[in-house]
Amino acid sequence: MAYDVNGTTVEHDEEGYITNLSEWSRELADIIAAAEEVEMGEEHWAVVNFLRDYYEEYQIAPAVRVLIKSIKKSMGPEVGNNKYMYELFPYGPAKQACKIAGLPKPTGCV
């Protein structure tokens, strides 16, 4: 199973998470998002970038409540709340956004 990024294949698991984290690119993110039927806007990117920074710093993808709390702090309560985050990523702000960000499924998600 793989995504096709301009002719290059990027392997993913049965749920769509890429296998090799270093193969991520913004083009790939758009392709994963399209497969998820998510149209990437500015706020989607902000969340994806936050997740990538968090992973880079702490070596984990944060749990959803940690993500929302942090987004609330950095982008304000209009974005950093449960309802809005689920509007951005209907299949779960942590799960789905992590997939688009090229990260593993957050620790604790089944």
Binding site: Y58, Q59, P62, A63, K69, G108
Partner: protein, 136 residues
């Protein structure tokens, strides 16, 4: 959600990369943090090696999960008890450990250290004060 908050202590006594215990413990702590209990971590014996700074696992092909301890504050895990005697026996001091901080929401988000250096006798007190003790 939970009516009774219990005191959970995770006891860490193994060095980080030789066995999987340390990483498993950390993972259980992160998952367990969702349950709103009163969580503490204890680091004694070789467990104090888990917190040393400057770990670099690139060449052994394992994830450097030492960075993840610094995320514990986000998960409201803010009590990391480190045993003084265990450090000393291994030629270590607090300066050899990485800074692990949390933001105190009740104190204008002031950054405070999560690491609490205690003696072996105090560690025994901490252990005796728990509802549940989980060893790794």
């Amino acid at each position: 959600m939970s009516e009774t908050i219990k005191k959970f202590l995770y006891v860490n006594r193994k060095a980080p990369y030789g066995t999987i215990y340390a990483q498993e413990s950390l993972e259980v702590v992160l998952i367990g943090a969702a349950f709103d209990q009163d969580v503490s971590l204890a680091f004694l014996d070789d467990g104090v090696f888990q917190l040393t700074k400057g770990q670099d696992t690139k060449e052994i092909g394992l994830k450097n999960f030492s960075a993840t301890y610094r995320a514990l504050g986000d998960y409201e895990v803010t009590k990391l008890y480190v045993e003084k005697e265990s450090l000393e026996e291994r030629g270590l001091t607090l300066d050899d450990l990485q800074n692990i901080e949390y933001e105190d929401e009740d104190d204008d988000y002031a950054e405070k250290s999560s690491i609490r250096l205690i003696s072996r006798a105090e560690m025994a007190e901490v252990m005796a004060d728990q509802d549940v003790v989980l060893s790794f």
